[in-house]
């Protein structure tokens, strides 16, 4: 069951990603990216990373895509029908993707086990490994300093966004 879900989600992820490359209309490409990111969150669930899966949907498929759409609106794009299309771009990225897949497969230790029962080390983890409780406990104990540093980073992001965008401070 898990293996079937994994292959379905992986296929949808790749389908969405290749649609981003091929579609001429940038807004449609952004919508295809949502499809890809959504299917990716299913893979996160299969990897026992439930918290990451939820955040993938909330932050990436939600907020970051909104940002992408705003960039597309800012750029004042002409009608895609009048634009020159570059089919070779998709070809180049297909070759790069294929090579990285081959590399990953070459590095994979136990190939056959992966195909029949999913990633081996993931099955060894306990069921509640990536739950909100577990992740929160790690953040608040082991990684409490990076967590506090992150607030400074976010502060820098706020100030930077205001400084860059405001014409007159």
């Amino acid at each position: 069951m898990d293996v079937f879900v994994f292959y379905a989600a992986a296929a949808i992820t790749l389908l969405g990603a290749s649609m981003v490359l091929v579609l001429a209309n940038p807004l449609r490409a952004a919508m295809a990216l949502i499809l890809s990111l959504g299917a990716l969150s299913v893979i996160y669930v299969l990897l026992h990373a439930q918290f990451v899966a939820v955040m993938q949907l909330l932050v990436y498929a939600g907020a970051i895509i909104v940002l992408f759409v705003f960039v597309i609106m800012l750029l004042n794009l002409e009608d895609p029908k009048t634009r020159r299309s570059w089919p070779w771009v998709a070809g180049v990225f297909t070759i790069i993707g294929g090579l990285s897949y081959g590399l990953a497969r070459g590095l994979m230790v136990d190939d056959n086990q992966f195909i029949t029962s999913g990633p081996p080390h993931v099955n060894a983890l306990s069921k509640d490994y990536g739950t909100v409780e577990q992740v929160g406990r790690e953040i608040m104990t082991t990684f409490v300093l990076p967590f506090e540093m992150l607030s400074v980073l976010l502060l820098v992001a706020v100030v930077g966004a205001v400084v860059i965008s405001k014409k007159r401070l």
Binding site: M73, E133, M140, V144
Partner: protein, 118 residues
């Protein structure tokens, strides 16, 4: 593992089905008598001025970036809220420091008037 997510899958497909049925049935059953005026994008009834592909103001973008920052803040508040009782005062103070830093950012944004629609 994935069996416990079955309700989400069912919800997903029901949503997909309802959305698809609304569009599909309207397409199949609805009568269509297209004319040049009907095919035009609707712009409050008057003839169209220019295209829809206009440059939008950067103000939207700034608001979106600021939203993203506070969105990420909420990402960290969520697991903290789940563990609130377990963490006790230590967690409370840690989160207070975290929120205080971002609050400085919010005060900066408000003082600079970055959220004002000028």
């Amino acid at each position: 593992m994935s069996e416990s997510y079955l309700p989400i899958f069912i919800l997903f497909f029901v949503t997909l089905g309802i959305g698809g049925a609304m569009l599909g049935l309207a397409y199949v059953l609805g009568p269509r008598k297209p004319s040049a005026i009907k095919e035009m994008p609707f712009e409050f009834g008057s003839p169209n001025i220019g295209t829809a592909r206009e440059r939008f103001s950067v103000k939207y973008y700034v608001t979106a970036i600021l939203f993203l920052v506070f969105d990420i803040e909420s990402v960290f508040i969520y697991p903290w809220a789940v563990l609130f009782r377990e963490l006790g005062w230590f967690g409370f103070v840690e989160m207070l420091v975290f929120v205080a830093f971002i609050l400085v950012g919010l005060v900066y944004v408000l003082r600079k008037g970055a959220l004002e629609w000028e």
